[in-house]
């Protein structure tokens, strides 16, 4: 890049290659911190262990073992369920927020966007502490519910359960959904909405005929963020999940750290990775279709 100024004009190939050189740091970064570790993980996943010792091999026994252990199945299912639930909940909550900011907020738009992103700046540990104060057996919600006579005993499923994990994840991922949705909704011209109303579409039909389909790119991108992050999420379930029902990432951690069965953990990690890539590939197709339709 440093030699950009003295590239002779008669070498179009080099000139074409130069902008690509800007990608070099990214490519190196990806190789060092993604490709190599993934290759290592994959390599380890086909090894064996014997008395807590790693033995190089080439076997798919670890993969077969995953499908034979119900506990792992349950964890994987819980992860997928939680990620899916969190994704849908975030979409439903994010839509009105993004719509309001994009279309109605006027000069408050900037401030509201900052407010949406603000939770990112608070460390996960502090957030979890706050959730404990709210959701715990003697937390605010239970105190209020009992004072009002809504329940006799404190609701114990609120904290250290898949419920609190889901709540924590929804809260954490909401900004990830609001931002792409906001971008998509900003691209919807007010005139398109007016044209629909003018042609006798009720507000509800205008929403389903015009606003929702034109928000599709944002909906898909947000869903990918939420689902993919939710699937692999470790910290929030570890801090809020209570440890009785484990999520897949916790089982992986367990294999590596407690059972010291690296090949087994690595095989699970590869399965998770395949799931994530499947979700990404699917969404790329949707995005391409959605954006092809909007011509954006």
């Amino acid at each position: 890049m440093s030699a950009a100024h003295d590239i002779p004009r008669r070498r179009p190939l080099l000139r074409a290659a130069l902008p690509a050189a800007g990608l070099l740091p990214l490519v190196l970064w990806q190789i060092v911190f993604f490709v190599v570790p993934v290759a290592l993980i994959f390599g380890v996943s086909v090894w064996r262990t014997q008395s807590y010792r790693l033995i190089p091999a080439f076997t798919f026994d670890n993969y077969i073992a995953i499908f034979a252990r119900p506990a792992i199945w349950r964890a994987l299912l819980l992860s997928v369920e939680t990620a899916a639930f969190v994704t849908v909940a975030c979409a439903v909550l994010a839509f009105p927020v993004a719509y309001f900011i994009a279309k109605k907020a006027g000069r408050w738009r900037g401030l509201l966007l900052v407010a949406v992103i603000a939770p990112f700046w608070i460390s996960i540990v502090m957030r979890v502490a706050a959730w404990r104060l709210l959701l715990g057996e003697r937390g605010v919600i239970n105190q209020v519910a009992m004072t009002l006579g809504l329940t006799d005993a404190p609701m114990s499923f609120l904290l250290y359960s898949p419920v609190s994990t889901a709540i924590g994840l929804i809260y954490a991922y909401l900004p990830l959904y609001v931002l792409p949705l906001y971008a998509a909704i900003s691209n919807i011209h007010d005139n398109w909405i007016e044209a629909a109303l003018d042609l006798n579409a009720s507000p509800a039909r205008t929403f389903f005929e015009v606003i929702l389909p034109l928000s599709a790119p944002g909906l898909v991108v947000g869903a990918v963020f939420c689902f993919v992050f939710g699937l692999g999420e470790f910290v929030t379930p570890a801090l809020l999940g209570g440890g009785k029902q484990l999520m897949f990432s916790q089982v992986i951690q367990d294999e590596f750290q407690r059972r010291l069965d690296w090949p087994s953990g690595a095989a699970m990690a590869v399965v998770l990775l395949v799931l994530v890539f499947a979700a990404l590939a699917l969404s790329m197709k949707w995005i391409r279709r959605a954006s092809g339709e909007t011509g954006l």
Partner: protein, 360 residues
């Protein structure tokens, strides 16, 4: 339904106030069914606001809006039988051309096979046969314009509203679309209300023109009347070109111009019942003025002016000059006639009976 109003649209003293300023003030207008009306005026005079009060996107601060004789003040845009052609077309980008055309019919819950039939017919009407499956992003400006027009026409609204429909087209396409609009209007017999700030477009297209200025309706009349009998100085100046000379009505119907060595004897009709001492402006259309010594005998108004500029534009030459006191004067005459010399003094003459008066 017993007694159908002859008016597709009626505005009764409508105003729209934004904060401290009025975008539209006290406009009353009756638009006959089947008419082609244009709202003409400079930028910011309230044309779009007026149109949007008919479509329902702007609620009047006061006054009443009637469509087919019924007040629609309580009706939302999607409950009104109007359809709008937007300046930027506002075609749905996620729908094909045919789906755009079908949209209004689907919302009105028309049967599927009838929709298909009417979409085909509309593609035919707007000269887009075979384009039904195209994406709207693949359409040229002129084609997109036709889709927008078709999408609004297809529901056969009580009023078709057009907000600067041809504003985004180049001149040649504009002329062509003007002709097509006029043909379509004649063939379908719908009521068209169009907004434009192009006076030539208004004059070619419409049966009647509403000239607006600063939110107020200056005159609502036929193109010919606007041109021959402008009601105000603004209309005289805005519609067609005009030479305006300040003047005062004297005794016995004589009118003396302030800056011209000129007095005119005007008929009572030309004076419009104005009394002695009223300040007026003389409206002299450029094409009534002849330049040169060979002034026709009936040109009883004559002034001497210095010729500043001569511009040929095809069949017409535009000659501008100024009087000794600096008042400027524009004449249009046939390019076949001899042109005066630039810088020379020439006689500018016109018939007194072609002069029109507006309030000064």
């Amino acid at each position: 339904m017993t007694e159908r109003s002859p008016n597709a649209v009626e505005l009764r003293a409508v105003s729209k106030v934004y904060g401290a300023s009025a975008a539209v003030r006290d406009v009353s207008m009756e638009i006959a069914r089947g008419a082609f009306v244009t709202i003409l005026g400079p930028s910011g005079c309230g044309k779009s606001t007026l149109l949007r009060m008919i479509s329902g996107f702007v609620t009047p601060s006061s006054g009443d809006v009637l469509i087919d004789g019924v007040s629609v003040l309580g009706a939302a845009p999607y409950e009104r039988d109007t359809a709008m052609v937007f300046q930027d077309y506002a075609l749905f980008p996620h729908r094909t051309v045919a789906q755009n055309l079908a949209f209004g019919l689907r919302m009105r819950r028309i049967a599927k096979d009838e929709i298909a039939r009417r979409v085909e017919a509309m593609l035919e009407l707007v000269n887009l046969r075979g384009f039904g499956d195209r994406r709207v992003s693949q359409m040229s400006g002129g084609q997109a314009q036709r889709v927008a027009l078709g999408r609004a026409l297809i529901v056969r609204p009580a009023v078709l509203l057009l907000d600067e429909p041809l504003g985004a087209l180049d001149l040649k396409l504009r002329k062509q679309m003007q002709a097509e609009l006029k043909t379509i209007h004649r063939d379908l017999g719908l009521t068209f209300v169009a907004v434009t700030h192009d006076q030539e477009e208004a004059l070619t297209l419409s049966d009647r023109i509403a000239v607006m200025n600063g939110g107020a309706l200056e005159q609502f009349d036929t193109p010919e009347n606007l041109y021959r009998r402008p009601a105000t100085r603004f209309v005289a100046d805005f519609v067609g070109n005009a030479n305006l000379f300040d003047a005062r009505i004297g005794g016995g119907g004589r009118v003396a111009a302030d800056s011209l060595p000129l007095t005119l004897d005007l008929s009572a009709a030309q004076r419009g019942g104005r009394g002695e001492g009223t300040r007026v402006a003389l409206v002299v259309r450029p094409e009534t003025i002849a330049v040169g010594a060979a002034a026709p005998a009936h040109h009883d108004c004559r002034v001497e002016a210095r010729v500043d500029e001569i511009m040929f534009s095809g069949a017409v030459q535009q000659i501008t000059g100024h009087l000794p006191d600096g008042t400027r004067l524009t004449a249009h005459q046939s390019a076949a006639l001899p042109a005066p010399e630039r810088g020379a003094t020439a006689i500018f003459s016109w018939p007194g009976q072609s002069v029109w008066l507006v309030d000064g």
